[in-house]
């Protein structure tokens, strides 16, 4: 039976985004790892098959190649448009990433301000529509707004990536009701992005119905990133299993799990 459960997790319950099958429901961000060696070990421990990269000015003095490390890990690249504040810049960055990495997948980020790093909803929707028209597989980083998520799915995004809380804040999921509503609002995969602080946050995301979780800082800035990568992997699997298993309803009063029938009568005290 244990073998059967293992098969159910990996083979019969895959995540499918834009027709591509992924066995892992954990997406890994590469930002914040202190070294490429730690990043490589964390990728292996996470089991992730989809890993984000950013596009920045080349540094001729840089040592070691991120591209080589990721190629060696056998993961699919998910370029992001981090740092873009306008639809124009995000679209151009996505096109450059397509040139650089030979993938038409993009994690679309259009940021509204540098203090919160919250998405600029209006610019995001414009960029998403343009990139879908250009043939990109668009995974937008979005607010936890079910209406915006529906609009993004409506223009053809391959998934939606609502935030649990601001990027790097580690505050977990501040509005679990909205994440649940987003799951009901769209037919594309929902990937909880941003705000995950520790393994339980990832499990909660999956229990709420998310199809996957993206983690970056929570792993890369943990005191032991490789151990946290493993913790996240298991939390995502546990949360997914719990979601599929169906949790019991919450009740105010106790419900005995041991039957009342057959209680012995020991007489008066």
């Amino acid at each position: 039976m244990i073998r059967g459960v293992a098969i159910a997790q990996t083979d019969t319950d895959p995540l499918v985004i834009a027709g591509r099958t992924l066995r892992s429901r954990l997406l890994l961000g590469t930002g914040g790892f202190p070294s490429l060696e730690l990043l490589s070990a964390a990728i292996a421990a996470s089991g992730s098959e989809l890993v984000t990269v950013a596009l920045r000015r080349i540094d001729p003095a840089a040592r070691g190649s991120l591209i080589d490390v990721l190629a060696g890990a056998g993961v699919q690249l998910l370029p992001n448009t981090a740092g873009c504040y306008t639809a124009r810049d995000a679209v151009l960055t996505a096109k450059l990433a397509r040139e650089a990495f030979a993938t038409d997948w993009v994690k679309l980020e259009v940021i509204g301000d540098e203090d919160t790093l919250l998405p600029d909803a209006a610019e995001l929707l414009i960029a998403a529509e343009e990139l879908v028209d250009e043939g990109f597989v668009v995974l937008p980083y979005t607010t936890d707004d079910p209406i915006l998520a529906r609009r993004l799915a409506g223009v053809g995004c391959a998934a939606v990536m609502p935030l649990g809380s601001p990027i790097g804040s580690g505050m977990g999921i501040r509005n679990p009701y909205n994440i649940g509503l987003i799951r009901e609002a769209v037919d594309v995969p929902v990937v909880l992005d941003a705000g995950v602080g520790t393994a339980s946050d990832a499990a909660i995301a999956m229990e709420l119905g998310c199809d996957a979780v993206m983690a970056a800082s929570a792993i890369s800035r943990a005191q032991d990133p490789v151990r946290m990568a493993s913790a996240m992997r298991h939390a995502v699997q546990a949360g997914r299993q719990a979601r599929l298993a169906g949790r019991i309803p919450r009740r105010l009063y106790a419900t005995a799990s041991t039957p009342e029938e057959g209680l012995p009568d020991f007489g008066p005290v």
Partner: protein, 66 residues
């Protein structure tokens, strides 16, 4: 011209290949993309694309992020 925000010795008429060369890169460098004046220049054009005196060139590659 300006390459990655800094003024460059590369002269007008030279190609993107020269810019890449100045950064120690080959034409077949993996994970590299080039924009000139806010437009993507596809890899197949790097050898022919002649740069203007006031061109603003961005040479980008993968960095950890997201």
């Amino acid at each position: 011209m300006i390459v990655n925000g800094e003024s460059s010795e590369i002269r007008a008429g030279e190609t993107i290949a020269a810019v890449l060369n100045s950064l120690g890169l080959d034409l077949d460098a993996r994970g590299v993309a080039v924009a000139v004046d806010g437009e993507v220049v596809p890899r197949v054009c790097w050898e022919m694309f002649a740069l203007a005196e006031d061109a603003r060139v961005e040479v980008l590659t993968a960095m950890q992020g997201g």
